[in-house]
Symmetry: C2
Subunit: 496 residues, 2 copies
């Protein structure tokens, strides 16, 4: 269709002639369900009494502070001072009237010396002093050095992923290995760049771990289709699955990357949301392997991403984060710098927040005790709520769920009655989407259907956060599910 | 070259096989000169005495608070409270110890009611209450209604431009009209999207105004080359030129857009930086025309962008802004929503800052007097410094400059000696780049060569901000220029 034909309205832009890559991109986390949930919330706020629930629970998105998680006091005290440095002129009043400790004041002053003003653009990679703190954090975490020149502060991890995929994807046949299920940022960004998503299925039966054979087969299949596989994205701990990879799993991914010359994109934003076992970073594992096998892993290129949005920090709205480049060609690194410089710089307040996250109060510091109490309180609360939700899923017919391992999500399998699947088909919807919409309409609880993340053919899931406080909303889900199953005639014998 | 051949290092990524669009993008504002200036600053900080100057002046970028412009107190007081709402528990101490007024406290409380926490993701278009304030601001400015549903809050204007061009550019032959000289965000983003820049020259002799004949010719030339011209970008007031368009100029652009079905991208971030005449928004002019000629302009699609980085606000580091869509097909608007939702939301603190910018203290409010004093002080200071710089350029041989009209920049023509042009060529550099590098090396003043913005063939310019305080740095430029002209043998008779 030519442009003139398609614009009957006389307008320049129509659905037919905008960038087809934008049209092709899908992003379910803020899609139809989230929009409808917002509408329900607005109706409730206006006093609408006709809905069968009195609150909307946004379990579709890892947004702790929308669900009443309190920010950590030390972080916010420091940020209030960098926002208004005039407060620093009266430290006595800060202490006596507001309980600010000297370490808060010192930190704010140090940050202001570094950035001058949070209203000034910083270096496009982020303020150098803050990158120094991030480097030290990485060194302490991994036991291997980090170079501030290789660190790029970002507006959340999303913008980092976008920049990196933009550099990596050089042509329509370029492909990036993406875990399925995955956080849909990856597929959406690849669609925008007109590059190919090369899916590799995670193994639900092995607690959503990676399976090296599956990855190898995905690569072989992609190559057979003419895809030039350039990179592998790994989300560890997993989103939406919560799974943590073992050092051995990580080694297998690194081995594949080394052999196939794949850039590893390690999305490690949930690195502190780990309930069992220990988080091991890809960087640490790579450095260990390089030590153990001199020369063998020198060609590996790794990007590790982190964020202020997740963990016990949960400061999503600030849009802070960083990525570290490991093993990149300096000429490529220059191009990445140029690309991020077009966007000028990440938000400077968020850079300051990142600094407090990677350099929190230490034992002996006046703010340490409260910091630790708040941090542990959030951590324990998340674990408790995850277990309560998991217990509820155990009670629901046809629902199977892996034990909570980390991140902020559970991703249960749902087995639905044949009649429900038919009803969904009649509406032109995926069955899990149909189920999630019915849940929202009945309970006000907004989850994301598994199809938004990708799932093994002939399986159905949904992703829910375990952030919302209280247990009322969990019971609402349980009750809805039971009624839904009844309405559609229950499971067949084969499903039981 | 195949991928394997190009990666002799054994790495997956090399300059030869990254996204060629990233390689092709140019962004001089933070390019070689800015990097060198940073290096000089670092050397000075370390006590290096070998340089012929004792400070680096970053006149390359409109970054007022890096150059000691003080933030407006009301804004920062409000932001300190939304960052740490615990401060609101002791309003008495806020007032007596820190001089916070009741309107500051009220505003912070209202914002917190709207966003819940600045640490929570907001709606992807920005918090609704804040969009309501922006809509009211636009209505008051233009005298025509604005709809919060058509407003998208952004992380600075840059991210808005990126989103919009991403939607508009549908194929490699898609073209966008860009003024020359221009802020290089436009050409860089078009390069990243593998779309075409269709340049139209501004008329230096007519105070850098638009010339409708020039635009028409650019469109005709582009069509002849097979370009599908989709949009016209207008920077008003101009960057780097500072020029303000008259209502008549604006009408001419709208007429062309209506006839050619071009989306108008009106970059209006300098709307309050106007020294003479009055800023008229494209939205206002369009609504006037629609009133005067019912039906005639109904097909026009306009995006108007604004920012918290410029004006008297100068809060670049916060990364705040918005764009308003006017006359867009709702289905296209949905796609724009989806695109921005992939990036989750703009920084919430910056959204709060935007709210204070568009809704500042009014006469009678306790914070009004100080606000007005600070605002006017910044405005008058900018004008004074612009005039001082303009005066200095009058004294410099071979330098011609339009009288300052607005924005934060002057963009003088420089006529350079033939020997200087040859010396530049010998180094493989554009002559204005050669000149700007020599200026940086001699004076520590970092400006951007005209070639970074585009300029008429056979003309040379540089862009400098007039943000830096004091006059010392201006005298450094004057002296450098005189020595440079002497060194390269002065101008020929034809040039004088």
């Amino acid at each position: 269709m030519t442009r003139t034909q398609s614009t009957l309205s006389g307008k320049g832009l129509s659905l037919d002639n905008i960038n087809p890559n934008v049209r092709a991109a899908k992003y379910a986390v803020r899609g139809e369900l989230a929009v409808k949930a917002e509408e329900y919330r607005a109706r409730l706020l206006k006093g609408d009494k006709s809905l069968p629930f009195d609150s909307v629970i946004f379990a579709n998105i890892g947004n702790p502070q929308q669900l009443d998680q309190k920010p950590i006091t030390f972080f916010r005290q420091v940020l209030s001072l960098v926002e208004n440095p005039l407060l620093l002129e009266n430290p006595t009043a800060l202490k006596t009237s507001f309980g600010y400790n000297q370490d808060v004041i010192d930190r704010a002053q140090a940050l202001l010396t570094d950035v001058r003003s949070v209203g000034a653009y910083s270096h496009s990679q982020g303020a150098l002093g803050i990158r120094n703190s991030v480097a030290k954090f990485i060194e302490d975490r991994d036991g291997f050095p980090a170079n501030p020149q290789d660190l790029f502060l970002t507006a959340g991890a999303s913008s980092g992923v976008t920049s990196l995929l933009n550099v990596i994807c050089d042509k329509p046949s370029a492909g990036v290995l993406v875990p399925i299920p995955q956080y849909p940022l990856y597929t959406a960004t690849l669609a925008l760049l007109n590059a190919r998503c090369v899916p590799y299925l995670l193994d639900e039966q092995k607690a959503w771990g990676t399976d090296v054979k599956v990855i190898e087969k995905s690569i072989a299949d992609a190559k057979a289709e003419g895809t030039d596989v350039r990179s592998i994205a790994v989300i560890n701990p997993g989103n939406p699955t919560g799974a943590s990879l073992s050092p051995d799993d990580i080694k297998q991914v690194i081995d594949i990357a080394a052999a196939e010359k794949l850039v590893i994109i390690a999305d490690e934003v949930y690195q502190t949301n780990v309930f069992s076992g220990e988080f091991v970073s890809f960087k640490k594992r790579l450095r260990q392997l390089q030590q153990e096998h001199p020369g063998k892993y020198d060609n590996v290129e790794l990007v590790s991403l982190h964020s202020t949005s997740k963990g016990m920090v949960g400061e999503c709205g600030h849009r802070g984060g960083y990525f570290e480049l490991v093993g990149f060609d300096p000429l490529v690194q220059e191009q990445i710098y140029k690309l991020v410089s077009i966007g000028l710089c990440p938000p400077v307040v968020a850079q300051c927040l990142l600094e407090t996250m990677v350099n929190p109060p230490q034992k002996g510091d006046p703010s340490f005790e409260l910091y630790q109490k708040e941090y542990n309180g959030i951590r324990d609360g998340l674990h408790k709520r995850a277990l309560a939700l998991f217990d509820a899923f155990q009670r629901m017919e046809g629902v199977e769920c892996q034990e909570p391992q980390g991140a902020m999500y559970l991703f249960p399998t749902i087995n639905l009655p044949a009649k429900a699947v038919e009803a969904a088909k009649a509406e032109g919807r995926a069955a899990d989407e149909f189920y999630a919409l019915a849940m929202l309409d009945a309970t006000g609880v907004c989850v994301v259907p598994g199809s938004g993340f990708g799932q093994k053919p002939n399986t159905l899931h949904f992703r829910t956060t375990f952030l919302a406080p209280g247990t009322d909303w969990v019971e609402r889900i349980v009750q809805f599910h039971s009624e839904f199953m009844k309405k559609y005639g229950g499971l067949s014998k084969a499903q039981l």
